[in-house]
């Protein structure tokens, strides 16, 4: 059963297409992350699903029924969606318990139901406190419980963890999403943090300028990005311009295969830092480089290298303890697993 279906949904503001012909499905119990730079249309997509915006064209379905499209528009209060904002937007005039009970129908066990939800997130003792007395993590849990209380078919999270410090973010993120998976709720989460998306999502949809550029499992996107933009979203990228010769792309650090790309095409080879490999300089030659600086990052080390002949710099990522010394002459090769060939004209989208 599907939680959310967007079919060719568009929404413009003024002359700008904030969301442009977006197709997206989120199945029950699945977590899909909308990932993209600010202004790419990911938040508008979320708001279209919530009913806080109406689509100009296309169709929005929640739990299989049409909520927007073909002349119909179901207002947010009738959509059975839950919504959590970055700053949680707890009602300041209500207690924690009243916040959670807000969306529950009036009835005898309203308070008891809300209490049960608070117990699930270990906050039953804070039930009668007002929101401002809670820590950031606690507020986040209240906001999630409040959104979950009316048992929504679809949960919409707008950068829900970015208000937390980074250690808390990991833990709360995993707890929250396991709760959502356990309740079979379809979850659409907006984030600009690729690490977070990678860690938490079942699938990631990368958006740019109102369109979904690529959608798939996190590792699919990491290992097989469709373009430079997607590749750059998940790590720093070394960009080596070149031209295809005989199905191969020669670079200063060796050739990379480019199957299906016509000879003579200008291309960019995108190389993830961990796909840059080094060995001690044995034979002097064109592939030599020098280690300019070494930056320990804990478990791994970032090394900045400079080609000894040409003005090319590389960013290399190696394990802790396996970095060259500063100033050392090294030999550089590329691991094809983290090296991608893209048409050179895509350089136009580099500037994110």
């Amino acid at each position: 059963m599907s939680g959310l279906d967007l079919e060719r949904v568009s929404r413009s503001f003024g002359g700008t297409r904030a969301v442009d012909q977006v197709d997206l499905t989120v199945r029950a119990g699945e977590v899909v992350c909308l990932l993209g730079p600010s202004g790419c249309g990911k938040t508008t997509t979320l708001r279209l699903a919530a009913g806080l915006e109406a689509a100009d064209s296309g169709e929005v379905r929640i739990g299989g029924s049409v909520v927007d499209g073909g002349g119909a528009f179901v207002p947010p209060e009738a959509r059975r969606v839950g919504l959590v904002f970055q700053d949680y937007a707890l009602f300041p005039h209500l207690t924690v318990l009243e916040n959670v009970a807000f969306g529950l129908p009036n009835g005898r066990d309203k308070a008891e139901q809300a209490m049960e939800l608070l117990r699930r997130v270990n906050l039953s003792e804070r039930a009668s406190d007002h929101p401002h007395r809670l820590s950031g993590g606690e507020q986040q849990r209240v906001a999630l419980s409040r959104a979950l209380a009316p048992r929504p078919v679809l949960m919409l999270l707008d950068e829900p963890f970015s208000g937390l410090n980074f250690r808390l973010r990991d833990r709360i993120g995993e707890e929250s999403l396991s709760l959502l998976r356990a309740t079979g709720t379809a979850t659409l989460m907006v984030t600009h943090d690729s690490d977070e998306a990678m860690r938490l999502a079942d699938r990631i949809a990368v958006m740019r300028a109102g369109r979904i550029v690529q959608i798939g499992a996190p590792l699919d996107l990491y290992d097989r990005p469709v373009d430079l933009f997607v590749a750059e979203f998940f790590s720093e990228i070394n960009k080596l311009p070149s031209v295809v010769e005989n199905g191969l792309v020669p670079t200063a650090a060796g050739a990379v295969a480019a199957p299906g790309v016509p000879d003579g095409s200008p291309v960019v080879v995108a190389v993830r830092p961990e796909a840059v490999r080094w060995s001690a300089a044995g034979t002097a030659g064109s592939m030599g480089a020098q280690a300019l600086s070494v930056h320990p990052m804990g478990a791994y080390v970032l090394v900045k290298l400079k080609d000894t002949v040409r003005d090319i710099r590389y960013l290399m990522r190696v394990e802790h303890g396996s970095a060259p010394a500063v100033g050392a002459q090294v030999q550089v090769t590329l691991d094809p697993r983290g090296s991608f060939v893209f048409p050179a004209d895509e350089g136009a989208v580099e500037g994110r």
């Binding site: 959509r79 919504l83 937007a89 009602f91 969306g103 959104a147």
Partner: protein, 558 residues
Amino acid sequence: MTTLAETGLPITRRRPRIDGWTVAALGIAAATTLPVLVVAASVLFPAGDAWAHLASTVLGDYVLNTVWLVLGVAALTFTIGVATAWLVTMCTFPGRRVLEWALILPLAMPAYAVAYTYAEVLDYAGSVQSWLRASFGWGRADYWFPEVRSVGGAVLMLGLVLYPYVYMLARAAFLSQSVCLLEISRTLGSGPWRTFLRVGLPMARPAIVTGIVLALMETVGDYGVVQHFSVSTFSTGIFRTWYGLGNLTAATQLAAALLAVVFLLSALERFARGGAAYHHTSTRYRPLPAFALRGPKRFAAITACGLPLLLGFLVPAGLLTLWAVQTAPRVLNERFWGYVLNSVVVAGLAAFLAVAVALVLAFAARLRPGAVTTWASRVSTLGYAVPGAVVAVGVMIPFGWFDNTLDSWMRDHVGISTGLLLSGTLAAMLFAYVVRFLAISFNAVESGMTKITPNMDRAARSLGAGPWSALRRIHTPLLRGSLLTAAVLVFVDTMKELPATLILRPFNFDTLAIRTFEIASDERLAEAASYALSIVIAGLLPVILLSAAIARSRPGQS
């Protein structure tokens, strides 16, 4: 190693606990609370038969009328203020941009001027009823027409000019609400109307309550409207007991009763606010949703917002203008301009003094932060809640006592009579204005002060500027706008002020407000129009300032 003394650097001693700033703050606090204390202390003295007489005759009326006024004005200002604020903040409809600021205009109207205008038009002899009789051939007993000179009429007049307090504060509260909260409420199953009732309204409650209480303070202190409509309240009672019965003690005790009403209202506000204003739990602001209204809803919104503006400002201002033009040849003579000058000079002096005193208080609190200065500024600004008549009585008594004591001592010992040095002078009047309006100037100065962070002080100090130099080079230029706002607000309130001016003015010293009142009391309303209109025109100044301030107040939008 050299000791600090050997370096030759200037060394200041630890400053003493009590210094000039603290003394000044305490002095201001003592002086401004004096009138209130005098009035409050009056209950300790016997007032003779007069009090028993009052209790058996009119006191019941005073209480009852005051209760009706308070309830009526509260209901009316709440309804008009909140409804218009919500509509112009959350919805779009034709004319909204204009209404946003125009809805504050009635604030420029002195309540008594509105009352005079409507009484003139709606009375039995007024143009509306005369027209009805002429058109339908009715006689006196053939029709029913609501009596404007009644408690209900007074409620309507006061509500029409006082609702902007609620409107302004409610609108500021709605503007500062995060839309996220309203959107969350929608996704949790509450429609737009229920969202307003369950989230928008409760979150704005502290602001709304404050607005209503401000309106009620003005209501219980009002003298012009109730006097003209013959509605007996504590305010009219003070005048009647003093000037009619000649019993100052009983009048003072009535003032004390009025004071008690005011404190009750303040306590009510504290209670209803339920502690502090709500903390903002959301810091994200997107543009307000602006529901576009269509069809009948659009018409209803325009009517709901247009009617208070029409009745509270456009109609009375229009009528006043009409009459002023008709009577201009008779009224606009040298004497008229003399009254204008009197009003402007007195209001200007009051504004200057109130701002200067407020600055001293604010600087004292800044330079000597602590319980003493905080307490002093809090106490000094209590006067705003105190009705003009009460302040006037509280000023009159000690000043009169001082004059009499000094006079008799001088006659006994020196052989000359000093006469009245303080009472019945401009000084007494200005003192009363400062007591009453210090809160306005102080709040404006202080709100400007909070924008100057303590780190700016520290930065200035670390760059070699002493405290005085910092005040002069950092604070004063940054405060200029706030000082101007403060001065304008006090200026206009002084121009409008009626009861305190009536009691305290020097003999034969008339202002625009006094002349408006006196001429209107003679039922020569058309002639009073020029005077009233002058006050209205002055009153438009702060309204313009306030409108601009409100428009800027939304966080995240410059």
